[in-house]
């Protein structure tokens, strides 16, 4: 009876309506001339104006309005540093935005996995992940609204300029929000209504639609940030001379899009991993502990897997920043912000060590892992050595006496480890050895039975060995003994070598362990310390995002929009590293507190009070609400 209710004609009509609206919507975009009326707010194109015979060149000049030049008096002062307010609110909005855009991405993949394997545990886990996301969604919107109000109140001239540049694109952003909310609510609340058969495919399609809208939202918002860093579609005084695509598609837009897309997945995985760890530690039954242990493992798997290619996207972003403006690149990595990159190395080292530690601890789930436990200490040694190379600064902060004793600000031996070739070798080796941890973990409960197992294993070892030698050789030879062009060019070899190891490892193991003998493994049979590693991951990720988000924003120095609109507010200076560090820590602590609130709410929705008349029939140990 219930099934009939859910597959009622009304529901199918509603879905049909959504599809028709979707087609109409996509048609509107594609058939409208981009430089035509639809985006007219953003277009004051010289070409367009000059083709209109009724308009003279003089009128065209009048249409080109330069960026405003506010004086200090034009910035409202509310008694608290404007920059600090926007700093905190923008960072909180971005943390939550990253979380709610990332969770549906891997939820969709997990749901699809459940569909193919026929294992309902995947479906339940995906649904539970969405439960966390749904509370975070409203908090994202609250911070987004607060951010918009703060910006319009505290930086009115900048916002007026950005509104003029982006025009109707701002309304597209607003419309996308309605779509996102509607699809998200149907996707989450319709989970059990659309659970089997063809209805499940409708549900999966809604998941794809949700992620499509979410990704579009993200790249739209990214275009504002990248326009402020590297403006395009405007002339040297900031007047708009291009259409909306020329404004959006600046040199840094796609590098930021890719970097944030991957980072969001890693960040989202880490946050829901902390939720699973919290539930695992609080579990009262072995069954619940096993379920949340498995959920924590899956979250960590997603976070670390997304994290492995992330440094390459970051490298591309920084390379594009250098290509756009060497001055901006050097401000970031060789100037006032350079020490923040050393702190970045510490945080990334923390993430990789915590991720690896979790995998090593998890090997206790199966007895078959005894074969591989000897590897752990060697992997740990490599990770620590590479980590130390990564955090070695090039130029030390010294007193004049120390400089005299050292003969300069570079250490004669360790100074060589301070430049990019050394870091590239260290990062690539850390990624390869983290993947090795993954591989031995995945192999620990299996015994290969294929006839070519010995040869397959030998090939895997050879790929690891030659890739490592290759990475070290090109890093040292091209990095220290040739010219700069070759030095930068050779970093591509290192990236592809690392990716080769990862891809070969996944593909080779897929074939090597076909019809493998599976050894017994027990979910939940893992130390509590491993769960604390899952707490360390999201905190390190959050701190890292606060740190590098500050760097990305700060490289504009005293410009609102780089080279086009100057920042003349009282806050137009780069603060001390200590002040910036405190701000990053404040937003990180705030985010963690909000996340704890979200976890508590997610837990509360599954807690049922025992009715008074039944209270004496329940053992005293179970009286405090039966958590689901």
């Amino acid at each position: 009876m219930k099934e009939n209710h859910y597959s009622s004609p009304l529901m199918w009509l509603t879905l049909l309506l959504i599809m028709v609206l979707g087609f109409l919507w996509s048609g509107t975009i594609s058939t409208t001339d981009i430089s035509g009326e639809w985006f007219s707010g953003a277009v004051a194109s010289v070409e367009n104006v000059s083709t209109d015979t009724a308009v003279t060149d003089e009128d065209a000049e009048l249409k080109l309005v330069p960026a405003p030049r506010p004086t200090r008096a034009d910035y409202p002062d509310i008694g608290v540093s404007s920059r600090s307010i926007v700093w905190v609110v923008a960072q909180m909005h971005l943390f939550f935005g990253a979380l709610v855009l990332a969770v549906p991405l891997f939820v969709l993949v997990i749901e699809l996995l459940g569909m193919y394997t026929g294992d309902s545990r995947y479906d339940d886990m995906a649904h539970e992940f969405m439960k966390i996301s749904i509370t975070a969604y409203s908090i994202t919107a609250l911070f987004g609204g607060t951010l918009a109000l703060s910006l319009f109140l505290l930086y009115p001239d900048l916002m007026a300029y950005l509104m003029r540049v982006f025009g109707a694109q701002m309304m597209v952003y607003a419309i996308l929000f309605f779509l996102e909310s509607m699809v998200l609510y149907i996707y989450y609340y319709g989970w059990d209504a659309l659970r089997y058969g063809n209805a499940k495919w409708v549900h999966l399609s809604l998941g794809v639609l949700l992620n499509g809208v979410g990704a579009t939202l993200m790249v739209t918002a990214n275009s504002w940030a990248t326009f402020m860093m590297a403006p395009s579609g405007v002339n040297e005084v900031g007047a708009v001379i291009g259409n909306i695509w020329e404004v959006m598609k600046g040199p840094l837009w796609n590098p930021i899009n890719l970097h944030r897309f991957i980072a969001n997945i890693a960040f989202g995985g880490a946050v829901v991993g902390a939720y699973a760890a919290y539930k695992c530690l609080a579990a009262r039954t072995a069954e619940a502990r096993a379920h949340y242990d498995w959920m924590g493992y899956t979250s960590n798997f997603i976070a670390i897997l997304a994290f492995l290619p992330l440094p390459f996207a970051g490298y591309w972003l920084m390379a594009e920043i250098y290509a756009y403006s060497q001055q901006m690149g050097i401000t970031a990595m060789g100037g006032i912000l350079a020490w923040l990159f050393i702190i970045q190395a510490v945080l990334i080292g923390t993430i990789l060590l915590a991720g690896n530690y979790y995998l090593w601890s998890g090997m206790s789930r199966t007895e078959g892992s005894k074969r591989y436990q000897g590897f752990i200490k060697y992997i740990a040694v490599v990770l620590v050595i590479c980590f130390l190379i990564w955090v070695t600064p090039h130029t030390l902060i010294l007193t004049s006496g120390e400089i005299a004793a050292l003969g300069g600000s570079n250490h004669p031996l360790l100074g060589a480890l301070g430049i990019m070739p050394a870091k590239n070798i260290a990062v690539n080796l850390m990624l390869i050895f983290t993947f090795m941890s993954f591989q031995i973990y995945r192999r620990s409960d299996k015994v290969a039975t294929v006839s070519w197992a010995k040869a397959g294993n030998a090939l895997m070892v050879a790929i690891y060995a030659v890739a490592i030698v290759n990475i070290i050789f090109v890093g040292v030879y091209y990095g220290y003994f040739t010219n700069t062009v070759y030095k930068v060019g050779s970093s591509v070899i290192q990236v592809v070598s690392t990716l080769t190891v990862i891809i070969c490892g996944v593909v080779l193991d897929a074939f090597l362990y076909r019809k493998a003998k599976t050894l017994p493994s027990h979910w939940g049979q893992v130390s509590n310390r491993a769960q604390y590693a899952l707490f360390a991951l999201p905190i390190a990720f959050t701190w890292l995002m606060a740190l590098m988000g500050y760097v990305r924003s700060s490289v504009r120095t005293h410009w609102h929009v780089y080279t086009v609109m100057k920042d003349t507010s009282p806050d137009n200076f780069i603060p001390t590293i200590g002040y910036a560090g405190n701000m990053m820590t404040i937003v990180t602590v705030m985010f963690v507190l909000f996340v704890l609130f979200i976890f508590w709410i997610a837990n509360l929705s599954g807690t049922k009070q025992i009715p008074p008349y039944a209270i004496n029939k329940v053992p005293a140990t179970e009286r405090v609400g039966g958590a689901a």
């Binding site: 010995k454 040869a455 030998a458 090939l459 070892v461 050879a462 790929i463 060995a465 030659v466 890739a467 290759n470 090109v474 003994f481 040739t482 010219n483 062009v485 070759y486 060019g489 050779s490 591509v492 070899i493 592809v496 070598s497 080769t500």
Partner: protein
Amino acid sequence: MIKNLQIWLVAFTVAFLYFYGLDHFIMSMQGLPLNMLP
């Protein structure tokens, strides 16, 4: 013993040739022919 040695020899030869070719390919794609060059 000999068979084992053969397996390892073949595995390392395959890996070496792959990475050697990869280095050549990637550098020449960037217009930087391998040259054993401040």
